[in-house]
Each structure stands twice: as structure tokens, then as C-alpha cells.
């Protein structure tokens, strides 16, 4: 199955001893950037980036580490945004409970969609997830609580745990940052667990994993649900940040966008999707005021990435000499 491993070539690279120190330095630098960001750029913009970065990282959990391309992740992202928005606005829940409801809803959706979709592999899997997500889109279009074309507007951010006022932008930023870091740590933990190892085995060679006695369908469903839940966390968070949830969040373009973010940054790398999300959001922000449609750029970037650098930015860096010197391991 040389073809499957093409999705992310794994090459056992030896980590140079100097790498550890450089990595810690990079980590510290990253932390500094994340903490300093709201003081430099518009905070809502930084928060949006974090939400989408978490979304892309959750998506990558499935594509990069299990080898399943879902074209329906908008359902989990947008669905959770609706659930969280509804709970916070109509029921007046605290943000942490509203967010939890979003995650729970996305998890439930993930179980249903995942159980149906994992019955087929490869491109069929992609088409099935796309179709089921589109079904959810029509559902959202028609049920009353989503308010159709208007969406749920003016969602209150409320008070975290009842006493931390999230209407303060800086407080909100650090809440979003905390959730984002929690999400990434969860993903990192998940990928490096025995469960994650089995997922990689399935990605590389599913028949062999089956012959080793693993019930691969259950592992794939597990990864799917985990990915859906984290995508839901990103979606719920986004509803609190932007204070609205609309049909755009469940639209199939959103599913395509998260694929692009992951592809640009690097499929199967931990930081790639985060970087990719930053680039895509920045690009959209840049083009938002011009008449030039973003879809043209998005589409072209898609084509260029597929044709020329399939490893993505982080993936290419990890394969380069500089990457090796920095102690970055090629994805795998």
C-alpha cells in the first residue's frame, strides 16, 4: 500500500542531540507569540485564528494520523457553533457549559456520521462525509432554532464559571488561548498514545493491522469521533468569539477550507494545520475588503499545493536540511 503512505511519508529521522534545546527555544518563542499576539494585532482576529487553528488541528487528527479524508467537518464545527450559541443566548448558560454542549453535540454527530462513513474507504469516504454534512446543512436550514439565513446573532459571551467577565476582550483572549492549548495538548497526547500508534498502523496498511487482530473499524470510528469532538470545541469557541453562528459555518466551503489549511501547513504534522489556518485566515482578512473573490485564490492555492508541495510548509521544512538541524522530525 505504497499509495496510502504517500499521504504523509514517514522517514525515521534521527534527532540530533542539539535538537532538544532548540525545540525548547522554539516552544518558548511560540508561547511568547501567543501571549503577545493580542497586544500587537486586533484581538478578535487573533482569537479567530486560534479557533480555526484548533479546527484544522482536529481535522488533521483524522487525515494526517488515520489517513481518512473527511469532507464534512463543517457539520461538527458549525453544528457545535449553533448548539453553543443557542445554549448561551436562549437558555442563558455559562460559556463553559454552552461550550461543553457544543462539544457534546458535535460528538453525537460524529458518532452518527462516522458510523455510516467508515463503511467505505478512500474517496468514497470523502464523498459520503460530504453528502452527510450537506444533509446536516439542509437540516440546519429548516429547523427553527438556527433561524435560517439570519443565524443566531448577538450571542452573549457571559461570565466564565459565573464570575470571570468574558466581555473584556483580553480576558476572552486568554480563555480562548487556554481552550486552544488544551485542545492541542489533547491531540498531542492522543497521537502519541498506543491508540494513536494503531491509527498510524491503519493509515499505513489497514489489511495488515486487521491481520494483527485489531478491530480497525472501531479505531477509525474512535479517531473520527475524537476529531469531531475537537472540531466542535473549535466551533463552539468560534460562536462565543464572533458572537454569532450562521449557515456559513456548516456550509461545505467550510469543510473545504479546513482541508486547505491542513494541506498548506502540512498533513500529519502537529503544527502544520495551526500555521495553515493562520495563513488562510490572514489571506481572507486581507481580501475581505477587496472585490476580488477569495474562492479564486483559495482554489488556486489548493491546486498549487497539490501539484507542487504536497508535504505542506511544515512538512517541507522537516524534510529540509534546516529542519533536520532544528531537530524537527518528518511527520509519521
Amino acid at each position: 500500500m505504497a499509495r496510502t503512505s504517500e499521504i504523509s511519508t514517514s522517514e525515521p529521522g534521527s534527532v540530533p542531540t542539539m535538537g532538544r534545546g532548540v525545540q525548547l527555544l522554539l516552544l518558548a518563542l511560540g508561547a511568547l507569540v501567543l501571549i503577545g499576539a493580542p497586544f500587537v494585532v486586533y484581538p478578535v482576529f487573533a482569537m479567530t485564528m486560534l479557533c480555526f487553528a484548533l479546527f484544522a488541528a482536529a481535522f488533521n487528527l483524522l487525515l494526517g494520523y488515520t489517513g481518512l479524508l473527511s469532507f464534512g467537518h463543517a457539520a461538527f464545527f458549525g453544528g457545535a457553533a449553533y448548539f453553543t450559541a443557542h445554549a448561551a443566548k436562549v437558555w442563558g448558560w455559562n460559556p463553559e457549559f454552552a461550550l461543553a454542549l457544543g462539544v457534546l453535540g458535535a460528538t453525537a454527530l460524529g458518532v452518527v456520521i462516522g458510523a455510516i462513513a467508515i463503511r467505505r474507504q478512500g474517496i468514497y469516504f470523502a464523498m459520503i462525509t460530504l453528502a452527510l454534512a450537506q444533509m446536516f446543512f439542509f437540516f440546519c436550514l429548516q429547523v427553527p432554532f438556527t433561524h435560517g439565513e439570519d443565524g443566531i446573532q448577538a450571542v452573549p459571551r457571559g461570565h466564565l464559571f459565573g464570575f470571570i467577565d468574558l466581555n473584556d476582550t483580553m480576558t476572552m483572549y486568554f480563555f480562548v488561548l487556554a481552550v486552544f492549548v488544551l485542545g492541542l495538548v489533547l491531540i498531542w497526547r492522543f497521537v502519541n498514545s498506543p491508540f494513536g500508534m494503531i491509527l498510524k498502523a491503519i493509515r499505513e496498511n489497514e489489511p495488515r493491522a486487521i491481520s494483527l487482530g485489531y478491530a480497525t473499524a472501531q479505531y477509525k470510528l474512535g479517531a473520527f469521533v475524537m476529531s469531531a469532538a475537537l472540531a466542535g470545541m473549535a466551533g463552539g469557541l468560534k460562536a462565543l468569539v464572533m458572537q454569532f453562528a450562521t449557515l456559513t459555518d456548516v456550509d461545505w466551503h467550510m469543510s473545504g477550507q479546513v482541508v486547505l489549511m491542513t494541506l498548506i501547513g502540512g498533513i500529519g504534522t502537529l503544527l502544520g494545520p495551526v500555521l495553515g489556518a493562520g495563513i488562510v485566515i490572514a489571506l481572507q482578512n486581507l481580501l475581505a475588503t477587496s472585490a476580488f473573490p477569495v474562492t479564486i485564490i483559495t482554489g488556486l492555492v489548493f491546486m498549487v499545493c497539490v501539484m507542487l508541495f504536497r508535504r505542506g510548509l511544515i512538512g517541507e521544512l522537516a524534510h529540509s536540511r534546516l529542519g533536520r538541524a532544528l531537530g524537527l522530525r518528518p511527520p509519521g
Binding site: 459520503i128 473573490p293 474562492t295 479564486i296 489548493f302 497539490v306
Partner: protein
């Protein structure tokens, strides 16, 4: 009256279902033909359908060419464009995971849709049916607009012609052989890369024909393709891409199922095809006509 529904309304919805089914059949046929040989899911199929409709519109507005010319011109233009794309870009992706073909054509679809939207705006533009096909005939139990009857007939003819081309001719036999074992067929001195290019052009051309047929019924809009392509994907999953006839039959059947749902439970008519897809996947994952497990 059938099940408490007036027969006029009932037949009317069946007719709409058949028309939608005609488009589903034409489009899923093209997808199946492309997938059969290239192993690429052509996400740009909806965009090529949209381009077909635009060729008809622009041929009329800019060149004064009528519907019948458009019906020939559109598949040629879109097919040639498809051949160019296949030759220069898509063909480089065959040796990779199939998912890259899907991602590439997805990007292509976005680019085409965005470009057309930039030039022509997102709103639909009307395209008049040719004079020979306007009006309606009274069939006794219902009134049939002639153009709609023509669409059903034309799509049936095209579908059957493509089926015959692939299943009954020598060229079709070569195509099928190349699907089974391209290396062996190439060693017989047959230009397989050329065959692949022609196949992609054929698929794109079929989408363009569907677009021209659709132009007088739906409005010509840059978004018309992305709305239909996801439904067609579901059709393809239900039918299974193993068989050409399977793709055609499933297209019509699901169109009718959608029409019937509009009669009995209109709220669900948007999602009925997806629901059927889910049920088929649970009961028979390979699809109704699929071979692989």
C-alpha cells in the same frame, strides 16, 4: 386521486423528479466514466456543468448562436478545456493517492466558480428555450411542457449512446481493457495516456451537455454546479461506481424518489437522497450496483 393527492400534482412532481433524475443520470454517468479509467473523483464536474450552461448563454449573447449550436459547441469547448487540464496537470497526479485528484479538482472547481462569479455576478440569468420546444402538450392526465419532455428524451439518448459506446464498441472494449490493466494495453501499442485524456474530455463534455440542457430550466448561474454536485456524489455512492448502467439507472431512480418525497413530505425533499444513501451504506456498503466490497 392517488393516496389523497390530486393526480395532476402527483404526475407533476414525478415529472420534476424525472427531470432532476435526467441531470443526475448524465452527471453521475460522466463521473463514473472518469472514475472508471482515471480513478479520479472529478470534483470539478459541477463546475464543468456550469461552464456548459455559460457557453450556451454566451454563445447566444455574444455570437448569436442558438440553442442547437450550443448543444454541440458546449461539450466541445468544455471537453477541450478538460483535455488541456488533464494533459498539463491532472495526469501528474495518477501515481499518487487518489485523494490528491479529488483535492486538485476541488481547487479547480473553486477557481472556476469564483472566476465566473467575479465576471458575471452570483445571480442567475435567464436563457430562453428554443422556439421549437416551447409550449406544452396535454397528455390527458397532465400537461407536459415540451421542453421538459425533450430534456428527458435527450438525456436518455445521450446516456444510452455513452453506454453503447463503452459496452458495445471496439473503442469501448479498449477503454475497459485499459481500466483493468493499463500496462498490458499499452504494450499492445495503444496510446493509453491519450485514452485517459479523451476519457476526461468525454466526461467533461457530458457535464457540459447537461449544463446546456439545464440552462432553460434553471437559471444560468455560477453557483448552479456546486449545488448539484454533492447530490450527484450521493447518487454515485448509492449506485456504486462499478457500472455505467448502474450510474444511469440510479440517477433516474433517485430523481423520481426526490419528486415523490416532494408530494408526500416536502420538508424532506432536500435530504431524501442523502437519507437513501445512508440506508444503502448500512445495508449494502458497496452500493446497489457496486462490485467491490
Amino acid at each position: 386521486m392517488i393516496f389523497g393527492i390530486p393526480i395532476q400534482a402527483f404526475m407533476g412532481q414525478i415529472l420534476i423528479g424525472l427531470i432532476n433524475g435526467s441531470f443526475y443520470a448524465l452527471l453521475s454517468l460522466g463521473l463514473a466514466v472518469i472514475f472508471g479509467l482515471l480513478r479520479v473523483i472529478n470534483f470539478a464536474h459541477g463546475a464543468q456543468y456550469m461552464l456548459g450552461a455559460f457557453v450556451a448563454l454566451l454563445a447566444l449573447n455574444w455570437l448569436g448562436l442558438n440553442y442547437w449550436f450550443a448543444l454541440i459547441l458546449a461539450p466541445l469547448v468544455v471537453g477541450a478545456f478538460g483535455a488541456l487540464l488533464e494533459r498539463t496537470m491532472l495526469s501528474r497526479l495518477y501515481q499518487l493517492d487518489h485523494l490528491y485528484g479529488l483535492l486538485f479538482t476541488f481547487g479547480l472547481a473553486l477557481t472556476l466558480e469564483g472566476t465566473m462569479r467575479w465576471y458575471f455576478g452570483a445571480s442567475g440569468q435567464p436563457y430562453a428555450a428554443p422556439a421549437a420546444l416551447t409550449g406544452a402538450v396535454n397528455l390527458g392526465f397532465m400537461v407536459l411542457p415540451i421542453y421538459r419532455g425533450w430534456v428527458i428524451l435527450a438525456s436518455l439518448i445521450v446516456c444510452l449512446a455513452v453506454w453503447a459506446l463503452i459496452e458495445k464498441t471496439r473503442l469501448g472494449a479498449t477503454l475497459r481493457a485499459a481500466t483493468e490493466n493499463p500496462t498490458l494495453v499499452q504494450s499492445f501499442g495503444i496510446n493509453v495516456p491519450m485514452l485517459l485524456t479523451l476519457t476526461y474530455a468525454l466526461g467533461a463534455g457530458l457535464a457540459a451537455i447537461a449544463g446546456v440542457l439545464a440552462a432553460p430550466i434553471y437559471q444560468v448561474s455560477p453557483l448552479m454546479g456546486s449545488n448539484i454536485i454533492i447530490v450527484v456524489f450521493a447518487v454515485v455512492v448509492v449506485g456504486g461506481m462499478g457500472s455505467i448502467m448502474g450510474a444511469i439507472v440510479t440517477g433516474y431512480l433517485l430523481g423520481i424518489a426526490e419528486g415523490l418525497t416532494k408530494v408526500f413530505y416536502p420538508e424532506a425533499s432536500n435530504i431524501v437522497i442523502f437519507v437513501i444513501m445512508a440506508i444503502v451504506l448500512i445495508l449494502r456498503p458497496a452500493g446497489l450496483f457496486g462490485k467491490e466490497a
